[in-house]
């Protein structure tokens, strides 16, 4: 199957103005999102996952701005630009975003407890989304609301749509939020840590639901998380983010079984599942860089005990490993010395070879 790009980010730079000081949150990010795939974006807290995705629906905080770069969206098929790309980075007015929000790109927030209006019934909040994007009224609208609730696995939907959010548990509320999102009939669904606030069994159910809806509704999903377990469960492709830029992008197996960037190594090594019994769990030393300052060379170098000299001087480009897998590290340069990945990573590789 030929991959069709639905969203293409090119050299995006996003900055925040904080009391006169400039914070460089997204640094030269480029990525293509393909139609129908599920892409996971992983990275530690504060690396810019949410900021990057908020750009796609015009929800950046007021002190943030796109300094340069393009966000091309290819999904519009209305009369305005059939099959043509629109550059979301150029959108300024709320009116422009109304063409995108909901019906093209929709987003699910992290905390289902606060995502719903506490004073409105579940039904009316879903109906609001349907009315905006599907032009239904009266009895048809009501039917559509109930159908949407059933689609996300809520039983007794007829009664439940008259209830208020406080009558729902956390997991149920996240289902309602998902119902609101799919009621908009979006092409891309961004899920910003949708299961972080939920307990493990509920997490699995919500992930299952998202997977089911994805294939049923032909959705493209961007999944933001710092839980690699979740990634393995749901993603086709993984993009690893560090300090406002991508350091490694590849298919799920490629990044899990053949990671190339030292930061990806560190991230995988800190997975509890990979830890060796009796040994202390690996944790990444140091703190992420200060985004107020200009970053010289490879942003991860200062925390990488095996960093090369050049890592501190010049920023590495992306090196292709396979057509679908690339990483931004000097280790992949022909001239680089051979640096062995840590033990954990070698173990995974062996495991894979034995099995495969």
């Amino acid at each position: 199957m030929a991959k069709k790009t639905i969203l293409s980010v090119k050299d995006l730079n996003v900055k925040f103005n904080l009391r006169g000081k400039i914070l460089h949150a997204i640094r030269d990010v480029s990525i293509d999102v393909y139609k129908g795939e599920s892409l996971a974006i992983v990275g530690e807290s504060g690396c810019g996952k949410s900021v990057l995705n908020k750009n796609f629906i015009g929800m950046l905080d007021v002190n943030g701005f796109v300094e340069s770069g393009e966000i091309l969206y290819f999904g519009l098929n209305g009369t305005e630009a059939p099959g043509q790309a629109v550059d979301l980075a150029k959108f300024k007015k709320e009116r422009d975003w109304l063409k995108i929000r909901g019906k093209e790109i929709c987003m699910i927030l992290q905390d289902p407890m606060t995502s719903l209006n506490p004073l409105k019934t579940i039904g009316s909040q879903i109906a609001e989304a349907i009315r905006l994007h599907q032009n239904l009224k009266g009895a048809e609208l009501k039917k559509a609301v109930i159908k949407t609730l059933e689609d996300v696995g809520i039983e007794d939907a007829k009664r439940r749509c008259r209830q208020y959010p406080h009558e729902f548990s956390g997991g149920m509320r996240q289902r309602v939020v998902i119902a609101i999102a799919i009621a908009c009939k979006p092409k891309i669904l961004i899920c910003d840590e949708p299961t972080t606030a939920l307990d493990v069994t509920i997490q699995a159910q919500i992930l299952g639901l998202l997977k089911e809806l994805k294939s049923k509704l032909d959705l493209t999903i961007i999944f933001i998380t710092h839980d690699l377990g979740v990634v393995a469960n749901i993603a086709d492709r993984v993009a690893v983010m560090y300090a406002g830029e991508f350091v490694e992008i590849g298919m799920c197996e490629e990044v899990f079984y053949d990671p190339r960037h030292p930061y990806t190594w560190a991230l995988l090594s800190s997975l509890p599942q990979l830890g060796v019994k009796g040994k202390e769990l690996y944790s990444i030393k140091g703190a992420p860089p200060n985004l107020f300052k200009h970053i010289e060379g490879d942003a991860f170098a200062v925390r990488n005990p095996k960093a090369l000299k050049i890592d501190f001087i010049e920023k590495p480009p992306f090196f292709d490993i396979t057509p679908t897998h690339k990483a931004r590290t000097w280790l992949l340069d022909k001239r680089a010395p051979k640096v062995e990945p840590p033990e954990y990573i070698r173990n995974i590789r062996c495991g894979k070879e034995k099995r495969g």
Partner: protein
């Protein structure tokens, strides 16, 4: 629902009972001149006779009991000094509608002007409308009310070409008193609404509504205003009281024949039974405000269940 309301009403009656008893007992501590028309000219025997007639020689609990017994019959006693031997209720009856009309109009005007002002300030937070609104609020709260009441009267009456005497049949005569009385509450409503709307607009559910494509005035009114209005309701009782307090001054300023002006008069004339009667009415207004605030809260917020333990607020 019914159980909640009856419980709430019972509590308000208790509040009223306490206020009234304290007022009653305090009034009894005043000099007994307050019970006679022309005390100075009366002989000792006449005074003793009067005291016995009014039942003032009985012990306090008995007096209090008699007061409530008469109150239940709708009898607030006789005015003795303000007007000689006229029932208090008869004096108050024509004045109540005037004051109620004034108060209701003042509150409505405050809502009509205060809520849009607050909304505008929240909508344009940090911009010119917000700054102008803040300047207005600070002015109203910092300057003593008497100053701008007088100022408005001085220039307002001239501007509207009004006579010095209040004429209830001329609608223009109501403009200045109503407007003056509403100013404090306009500032109050605008201040709280702005604050609550700004609070609400940073909430996640507003983000989600925006993400699903709700915009502009729909977002502002259906979500932000609607939700900010609920905590506003708590301040309703306070604004009722503000209005009552305002009326005391405004009514005497414009010589409006209402109860606020009357209270000042009867206190000056030391007419104890009249003071009691008016305090009872004002206290009732205050308590009604409180009950109304609570009931509205229950109606507006589904999370508050009617008195049941389930409510989590």
């Amino acid at each position: 629902m019914l159980k909640y309301i009856s419980k709430r009403l019972l509590r308000s009656f208790l509040t009223l009972f306490i206020i009234m008893s304290i007022t009653f007992i305090l009034m009894r501590q005043m000099p007994i001149e307050g019970y006679f028309q022309n005390y100075d000219k009366l002989s000792e025997a006449q005074i003793q006779n009067g005291i016995r007639m009014l039942g003032l020689d009985k012990p306090m609990p008995v007096q209090l009991f008699n007061f409530y017994k008469n109150l239940l019959k709708g009898d607030l006693g006789m005015s003795l000094r303000y007007r000689n031997n006229v029932p208090v209720t008869e004096i108050l009856a024509p004045k109540i509608p005037v004051s109620v009309r004034l108060g209701v109009m003042a509150i409505l005007l405050a809502l009509i002007l205060g809520l849009p002002l607050g909304t505008l300030m929240a909508r344009y937070k940090g911009k010119l409308p917000d700054h102008l609104g803040t300047a207005f609020i600070v002015f109203i709260q910092a300057v003593p009310a008497a100053v701008y009441y007088l100022f408005l009267q001085l220039y307002g009456t001239e501007l509207l070409g009004l006579g010095l005497l209040f004429d209830p049949d001329k609608w223009t005569a109501w403009i200045l008193p109503v407007f003056s009385m509403s100013l404090g509450n306009i500032a109050y409503y605008a201040m709280w609404l702005r604050r609550f709307m700004v609070d609400q607009s940073t909430k996640d559910y507003v983000q989600l509504a925006k993400i699903k494509g709700v915009s502009g005035s729909k977002l502002m009114f259906r979500h932000i205003f609607r939700n900010a209005f609920v905590p506003m309701v708590q301040y309703l009782p306070a604004t009722f009281l503000n209005t009552v307090i305002g009326s005391i001054y405004i009514e005497s300023l414009y010589s409006i024949p209402g109860m606020g002006g009357l209270l000042v008069d009867v206190i000056k004339k030391q007419d104890n039974t009249m003071v009691q009667g008016i305090v009872l009415l004002f206290a009732t207004v205050g308590v009604i405000g409180l009950v109304l605030g609570d009931l509205l809260m229950v109606v507006l917020d589904p999370r508050i269940s009617f008195g049941a333990k389930r409510g989590n607020r």
